[in-house]
Structures are given as structure tokens and as C-alpha cells.
């Protein structure tokens, strides 16, 4: 009774973000050279590649943390030269990190609430007073956050300081915080690194659900090929900062350059 697969593919729409001929170097080290690809509305796009291929650099370029020396990035039709991370955030790009970057002493709830910061309109003074309109606003945001908590099924850790949580749950809280920004584009940097099989399956389910339920476009970096093949609509493969393949998981799997560079020479 579930909607057939072909129907769910129609959700993929126009180009949301286009990367054109982007190059990034740190001194003499070329992290990315001349990479172009696009991310379409509503798709799950994977970026894969061996260690040091420039995947994380690519994400950092997309959300404005690094500024490429060359190339253009077009997000929602606006081409930009330079952007600060908070501008990217305000523009609808959220991300999670390769190493969990949460406020360890704060509860899961407060961490996710932090993701709403950009949506809060009242001034700091109002919020400190927690009175009248500020209170109403906080209640509204809290409701949204509670829906995320319900969505990610982390009710039981709502009040637990995240530092005490196992790794898999911390990752889930981090995803929650990114979702709290109601992003149009969600960047996930190795969302499943260091997880066991069950945690990976849970996380995969949540990524698919986020994409389906919130309609969020997702770009993810992942090492686990099984996960990439199952989750993503299209895959771009980087190696030593150069794009070596781009296509559906099945196409990429067959590509000889990918097999040689990433999966190793088959035997």
C-alpha cells in the first residue's frame, strides 16, 4: 500500500545548489580542483571518496566556512562569491559535523533549541526577561523542537546532558539541532561514522524520513558504501580533489575509475 517507488522519485525537482568549477587550496596543498556538480531539490545526494579526497572541504565550501579561490556557487538561483557560515545558515543550509559538535553540558532539548536561534525574533533582552511576547515565542519554538524530538524518538533523553549519551544518540541529537533550523539543504558529514549496524540502520531510516516527511534536500558524506547505495539518489565521487564520477549509485558502482580509486582494484 506504500506509494510505489517511481512516484517518490518525482519529488526531485530543479537544481537547488550548483557548484561550478570550484577550486580550493591551502597554501600549496590543493584540496579541491575544478569540481562541478549540482544538488537538486528534494534529492539525497552523496559525496564519497577515499580519505583526503576533499569531501569535508567541499561541504565547508558549500556552507561558507571555506572560501574557494576559484569557481561559483549558486544556491536558490543566487550566485555568490563569498558567504559567511551564518549567512548560509540564515539562507537555509544546516549541517552536522564529522566529530559531534554539541554543547556537551546542555540537555538534548537545549541543544536542539539552540538550533532555533536564527528563528527567534525577539531581542536578547526580551529573551532574558522570558515574559510576554518572548515567552509566547519560546513556547512556539519549543513546540517545534518537541515535534523533532518526537520525530527522532529521543523523548527519553530530552533532559539528559548530551555528554552522557552514547555516540549514536549524540549524532541523532545533532541531526535534531540541524532540523530545528528548518533547512532547505541539510549537509551531513559522515552521519554514520563509528556507529554499529543497528545505529546505522536507525540513522538511515531517519535520513530517509527527514527527506520524505520534511522534504529536505540532503547532501551527505559517507564511507559505508552499503549505506550510500541504499540512501542516495545520486552520487558524486571525489579523489584527490578531482571529481572522477557522478551519477546514480548503480552507475558509479560500475565506473572503473571509481573502482580503482575508491573501492580498490577488484580481484
Amino acid at each position: 500500500m506504500r506509494a510505489p517507488d517511481s512516484e517518490s522519485k518525482t519529488r526531485v525537482g530543479d537544481v537547488l545548489l550548483a557548484v561550478e568549477d570550484v577550486s580550493l587550496a591551502f597554501g600549496g596543498v590543493k584540496a579541491i580542483s575544478g569540481v562541478s556538480f549540482d544538488i537538486r531539490q528534494g534529492e539525497i545526494r552523496a559525496i564519497i571518496g577515499p580519505n583526503g579526497a576533499g569531501k569535508t572541504s567541499m561541504l565547508n565550501v558549500i556552507n561558507g566556512f571555506y572560501h574557494p579561490q576559484q569557481g561559483r556557487i549558486t544556491f536558490k538561483g543566487a550566485t555568490r562569491a563569498k558567504m559567511r557560515p551564518y549567512e548560509a545558515a540564515a539562507g537555509g543550509i544546516a549541517r552536522t559535523f564529522q566529530n559531534v559538535a554539541l554543547f556537551r553540558g546542555m540537555s538534548a532539548l537545549d541543544n536542539i533549541m539552540a538550533g532555533r536561534t536564527l528563528k527567534m525574533n525577539r531581542s536578547l533582552i526580551w529573551q532574558l526577561l522570558r515574559f510576554g511576547p518572548a515567552m509566547r515565542e519560546e513556547v512556539e519554538h519549543r513546540r517545534f523542537v518537541e515535534e523533532i524530538i518526537d520525530f527522532l524518538k529521543i523523548q527519553e533523553i530530552r533532559r539528559t546532558p548530551v555528554g552522557r549519551l552514547p555516540y549514536g544518540l549524540q549524532k541523532r541529537v545533532e541531526l535534531g539541532r540541524a532540523l530545528a533550523m528548518e533547512p532547505e539543504l541539510l549537509l551531513l558529514d559522515e552521519p554514520m561514522a563509528g556507529m554499529n549496524l543497528e545505529e546505522k540502520e536507525d540513522m538511515s531510516r531517519f535520513i530517509l524520513d527527514v527527506n520524505d516527511y520534511y522534504g529536505t534536500t540532503i547532501a551527505l558524506i559517507e564511507h559505508d558504501m552499503g549505506v550510500v547505495m541504499d540512501l542516495s539518489d545520486r552520487v558524486v565521487v571525489l579523489d584527490h580533489g578531482i571529481k572522477i564520477a557522478d551519477g546514480t549509485p548503480a552507475e558509479v558502482m560500475k565506473d572503473q575509475a571509481v573502482i580503482d580509486a575508491y573501492l580498490g582494484v577488484s580481484h
Binding site: M1, R2, E146, I149, D150, R158
Partner: protein, 658 residues
């Protein structure tokens, strides 16, 4: 007072109407949703249930038909039960964690045309077996998440059903009167609910309970424990289990108290603390897990806190129970206990959510004497009861002031108990069932000609206390080849009392000696491994670790010591043991849904291991099929080591078990 009024209302919908009148503005139901406790009063509950009933009747639910209720403890599922009963239909709750096969069996056997389910998971499960359920017409769900894209031609949200009913009630003035008529038409002797037994022995059976008997039984115990509309209970036990239906649903309706539903199964502990129930039930397993957790967390506490904790727990052990029982205690004891309450017991009870508990019960399995004493010593009025689904729970219960860890209490008010010559306990009670659904042969099997029900449990009345003592399932009590009495559960319970041992299965009937298979408790042993730098990658590896074996050997030796001290059981000491490579699991059919071991099935499944236990080999290979939560199957293989035990000399000086 409750008794006189309740006597007139002989069905639950009639009780609901009474409560909506008498306790209109008092809370009937609470549920934590999106982090906030939502409350419905009795008046609101009645309005919702009536609208729901009309909605269901519009979709075709009729008197005498059955409707399956599947899911965790949620208000809408309880309302589904009441709405069905309002129409004179019979709700059939099913365990939420039942795998598709079990679900199909119950739904088919109960002949349901409707199913009220919690969420997508249950919808998927039913749809996977739909071809076996041609009679199933409608499914109603509570939680819409993930169901948006499903074909809704035979699927509706409960919210919509209630909404439609509400609209119909508003537009058609005659509907209300018609509904009142339907409620009045239902007789107390009509079936009120069908509860499927957990199936400790083979396929589960549908126990039919009538409204008047259910209410009569609940009225007796409400009076026995002085429950009233000011009480609060947390409904966290499986909805399909007789215990939840009795303790929370039936008693709640009779006494008019509030039933609180936790946010989800994992938050029950935190919710318990927030709600602060006054009436509490927990199986020994849960109490044990709680204590284990407290002890583990205390190990991580600072040295000062740890010393204070252990000192005052010692004080509580010495005086706590005597104070609770109202016995004479020296003044210094009282003062020390008072300080302990302030520093340890009070905060501890608060953390556990027991601060307001007036009456707490435990049942289902024998409880370790130390475990039982622990909770009583910190001031929790924990008592034991004995019962079963066929009795609508209560057969015996301990009255305040006469509490013993190894007995289950005298017969409840109006309950009649007989011990058969075989040692089997027989009872006749106000709440007893009317029969098994569509199974007269089985009904006849468990009823004696003079109207008693056979419990299948062996027991006797204790001379000292006059209370009933249950030793084991009647059919499980056996003998070793040398004629020594072998009560497996007695041995298993002694083993399970150790925090390291989660489950134990003892064999010995018709054999030369006793052997056991153990399951480690991953929380306790895992924490021990962490503290002792024992590295492991999986449950299997930890379970087979030589150091774990060494630790468990000490536990088994201790059990042997305590067995040796008992004249009757001294010959039944454990000669050999092994640690299973996987946890016994209800999904694999090794445990019942209420987490009791299916001994026979386990023996069959692990036959190579049992053979090895008796043929003297030191290790054995085993390969078993396992079912994952999503229903997929896989295989686990392992080589399991066997340890020999030294037996304690018999007879010997009695030594107190530490």
C-alpha cells in the same frame, strides 16, 4: 462507598457514565504528548468515548462483534476499548510486540473485523498477514506518522472516526438516546473483553471475562486497598495483559482514579517520577532492573556518597521492615532510620518515582527475598499477590502488616481456594472467567466439576503464616533419578537473584543431577567488564569470557551452599552449568510475551547443549536461528563451554547467605 454504587453498574460503559456524573471534573486520563502532560476529565472521556462509539457503529461495528486493540498504553486505545464496549462489542487486546504470526493467529481466532492500532508499525504488521485475515475490514490508527501515503480505503485515523461520531451526535438528536439504549442493553453477564493468555504452555487461549464479574472483582480489591478517586496509577504495563486491564483500567473505572499513560516505553521511568503514582505494580523483573541500575550508579558515585548510601542501606535492612510493619524498634534504630530517610531513602524513592506510592504490588514470578526486603526496608509498601488471567488477576493478596517474601498472601475477599491432592492450587473467585473463547474443550479441561478453576501451579498453605506458597508450575515439579525433589523454578529464582544473571533454566527431572543454562545480564556484567578492563565486542563474546565464567561460578557455588542448607533440596545442587551465547528472547519463542521461560521449547532448541551438560563434555557447538525485531531471520553459531561445580557437603552447618 464505591462498592454500593459499582454494584449497580455492571458494565464498564455504565461505570464511565457514573464517573462522568460523580467525578465529572476530576482527571480520568493523562498522557504525555510533545513533552507536556495532557489531561482528560471523566466528563471529557465520556464525551470522546460516546463520539467514538457512534463513529465505530457508522463504520459497521455491531453488538457481539470483536475488535482488536494493538499498541502501547495510549489514551485512544483505552478509549477504543470503552467505545467498543459501549456498543456491546468485545475488545480483544493484543500484545504490541507480538510478531506477525502470533498476531495473525489471535486476530483470526478472535474473528475480528476491526482493529484499533497504535501506529505504522502495527499497520505494516497486519498488512503483512492480511491474506490470512479475510474478515478484517477496517483498521484505525492513533499515530499518523508514516501512514500519509497509505491507501486509506480500509484505513482511518481514530481522530477522524471520533470526529465523524461527534458530528453525527450533534446533528442527529436521536443518536444520543440510541447510544444510551445500547449501553443499557448490555448485560453484566455479556462478554466484556477477551484477553489472550501469554501462552506459557503452547498456543495462547482467549479468556472471556464478563462485565459484572470484572467489576465485582475490581470492587473487592479497591476496597481491600482503600483506593479512591484521588489515586493515580501509571499505565506502563502491556495493555493486553490482564494486569494492566485489571489494575489500571478496571480499578480506575471502579474507584474513579486517574490513569496516566507514559510518553513511550523508554520514558516510563522518567514519567513515573513526574506523575508520582499512589498505586504501583511492577513485576519482580522490573524491580530488579531498577535496583541493579541504582547499584551500578552508586558504584560511580563519589566515595563519601557511596559510604553514606551503604551505611544507611544497612540501617534500613536492620530496622526498615520492622518499622513498616509497625513492630517495636529501639529508639536509636528509629533515629538512625529517620536520618537515613532524610539522606538516602527519601531521595532514592523520589528518583525512582515512589515518593507517593501507598500500595505497591509485585507478582508473576517469585521475588528474591533480599530484593523484596530492600524495597520494603526503604519504606515502599510492597506486597505480593498471586493470580492469573482466568481469575481476572487476583486470587490471593497480602494485606498490610502481613508481608512475607516467600508467600503470596491469603485468599482475596470472596475468593475460595482449595489445594488438590496433586498439590495443584484450585480457586473460585468473583472475577473468574466465563470460558475460553471458542474452545469448550479447553474450558472443560481447567474447570473442576464443582466449579473451581485449576491454576496449574503447585502450592500449599504455609503453617506459620497461613498464607499461600507457590513452589512451581505443577507440571514442572519433578524428581532426580535418586528421588530428590527437583523444583526448577526454585533453583532458577535463587540464581536470578544475582544481578549478573538475567535468566536461568534448570534441568534435572529424570536425570542424575541438576544442570543449568545461564543468561548474563548485559547491563550488570557489561559495567563489571568496563570496570575490570575486560574487552568484548559482542554479547556472545562477553558471555563466553573465562572471567565471566569465573564470576558466575562463584554465584552458582553460593546457590549450592544455600541449597545444601535446605534439607529437601540439598540433593538438587547444581553439578554443571554453561552460559548461553544469546539472550533468551520472546521473538524466538524462548520466552513468553510476559518474559517467562518456555522450558520445554528451550530444551528442544538447545538439545545439543543439554546433551553436552550430561555426557561430560567440556564444550559444545550450537547453532540457532534468531528472529530480528523486523521479522527477518538469521543464524547465530557458537561454541559454548561447560563448567563443573564442586558440590557442598550435606548435611552441613547452616550459613546465612550474604
Amino acid at each position: 462507598m464505591a462498592s454500593t454504587v459499582a454494584a449497580r453498574a455492571d458494565t464498564f460503559p455504565k461505570l464511565l457514565a457514573r464517573n462522568a456524573r460523580d467525578f465529572a471534573a476530576r482527571p480520568a486520563m493523562r498522557h504525555k504528548d510533545l513533552g507536556i502532560w495532557q489531561t482528560w476529565t471523566w466528563a471529557q472521556t465520556e464525551e470522546i468515548v460516546r463520539a467514538y462509539a457512534v463513529g465505530l457503529s457508522q463504520l459497521g461495528l455491531k453488538r457481539g462483534e470483536t475488535i482488536a486493540i494493538i499498541g502501547s498504553n495510549r489514551p485512544k486505545l483505552y478509549w477504543s476499548i470503552l467505545a467498543a464496549q459501549t456498543l456491546g462489542a468485545v475488545p480483544v487486546p493484543v500484545y504490541a510486540d507480538a510478531v506477525a504470526d502470533e498476531l495473525a493467529y489471535v486476530l483470526k481466532h478472535a474473528d475480528v473485523r476491526f482493529a484499533a492500532v497504535e501506529d505504522q508499525e502495527q499497520v505494516d504488521k497486519i498488512q503483512s498477514v492480511q491474506d490470512r485475515l479475510p474478515r478484517l475490514e477496517w483498521m484505525f490508527y492513533d499515530e499518523p506518522r508514516g501512514l500519509r501515503d497509505y491507501d486509506h480505503s480500509r484505513l482511518r485515523s481514530m481522530e477522524d472516526v471520533i470526529g465523524d461520531g461527534r458530528k453525527a451526535l450533534a446533528t442527529d438528536a436521536k443518536l444520543g438516546a440510541w447510544l444510551d439504549d445500547e449501553i443499557a442493553t448490555t448485560k453484566g453477564a455479556d462478554p466484556s473483553i477477551i484477553l489472550y493468555t501469554s501462552g506459557t504452555t503452547g498456543q495462547s487461549k482467549g479468556v472471556v471475562l464478563s462485565g459484572e464479574r470484572s467489576i465485582a472483582a475490581a470492587t473487592d480489591t479497591v476496597n481491600f486497598d482503600h483506593l479512591d478517586e484521588n489515586d493515580v496509577a501509571l499505565a506502563y504495563l502491556p495493555l493486553a495483559w490482564v494486569g494492566d486491564h485489571y489494575l489500571n483500567f478496571a480499578q480506575g473505572l471502579v474507584a474513579g482514579f486517574c490513569m496516566a499513560c507514559p510518553e513511550n516505553a523508554d520514558t516510563a521511568m522518567a514519567d513515573l517520577r513526574e506523575i508520582g503514582p499512589t498505586f504501583y505494580f511492577a513485576p519482580p523483573r522490573t524491580l530488579e532492573a531498577l535496583l541493579t541500575r541504582v547499584m551500578i550508579r552508586m558504584e560511580d558515585a563519589g566515595a563519601l556518597k557511596r559510604r553514606i548510601f551503604h551505611y544507611f542501606i544497612g540501617v534500613a535492612r536492620q530496622y526498615g521492615e520492622r518499622i513498616l510493619n509497625g513492630e517495636k524498634v529501639p529508639l536509636t534504630g528509629r533515629i538512625l532510620y529517620g536520618i537515613g530517610s532524610l539522606l538516602v531513602y527519601g531521595p532514592l524513592k523520589n528518583v525512582l518515582g515512589f515518593s507517593r506510592v501507598r500500595v505497591a504490588y509485585t507478582a508473576g514470578e517469585a521475588i528474591g527475598p533480599d530484593l523484596f526486603a530492600f524495597y520494603r526496608s526503604i519504606g515502599l509498601n510492597l506486597k505480593q499477590l498471586y493470580g492469573q488471567t482466568e481469575a481476572f488477576l487476583y486470587v490471593t493478596a497480602q494485606p498490610d502488616g502481613a508481608i512475607y517474601s516467600d508467600t503470596v498472601g491469603p485468599a482475596c475477599p470472596n475468593v475460595d481456594i482449595k489445594i488438590a491432592d496433586s498439590g495443584e492450587v484450585l480457586f473460585r473467585s468473583p472475577g473468574m472467567f466465563t470460558g475460553y473463547f471458542r474452545d469448550d474443550a479447553k474450558t472443560a479441561e481447567v474447570m473442576t466439576p464443582d466449579g473451581y478453576v485449576k491454576t496449574g501451579d503447585a502450592g500449599f498453605f504455609d503453617d506459620k503464616t497461613g498464607q499461600l506458597k507457590i513452589i512451581d508450575r505443577a507440571k514442572d515439579v519433578g524428581k532426580l533419578n535418586d528421588g530428590t525433589l527437583f523444583a526448577p523454578k526454585y533453583i532458577e529464582n535463587k540464581l536470578k537473584f544475582f544481578p549478573n544473571i538475567r535468566e536461568a533454566v534448570a534441568y534435572g527431572d529424570g536425570r542424575d543431577f541438576v544442570t543449568v543454562m545461564l543468561n548474563i545480564d548485559l547491563t550488570a556484567v557489561g559495567s563489571w567488564a568496563e570496570r575490570n578492563n575486560v574487552a568484548y565486542a559482542s554479547y556472545q563474546e562477553l558471555a563466553g569470557h573465562p572471567l565471566v565464567y569465573d564470576m558466575l561460578e562463584k554465584n552458582v557455588a553460593e546457590v549450592n551452599r544455600s541449597l545444601a542448607a535446605d534439607k529437601m533440596m540439598a540433593g538438587a545442587q547444581i553439578r554443571r552449568f554453561l552460559v548461553l551465547h544469546k539472550e533468551l528472547d520472546a521473538d524466538d519463542g524462548e520466552l513468553t510475551r510476559t518474559q517467562k521461560v518456555r522450558r520445554g521449547f528451550v530444551a528442544e532448541r538447545y538439545a545439543p547443549l543439554i546433551n553436552a551438560l550430561y555426557d561430560g563434555s567440556t564444550e559444545a557447538d550450537i547453532s540457532t536461528e534468531v528472529t530480528f525485531e523486523d521479522g527477518r531471520k538469521g543464524t547465530i553459531s557458537a561454541r559454548v563451554r561447560i563448567r563443573d561445580m564442586k558440590l557442598e557437603p550435606v548435611p552441613r552447618v547452616r550459613k546465612a547467605a550474604a
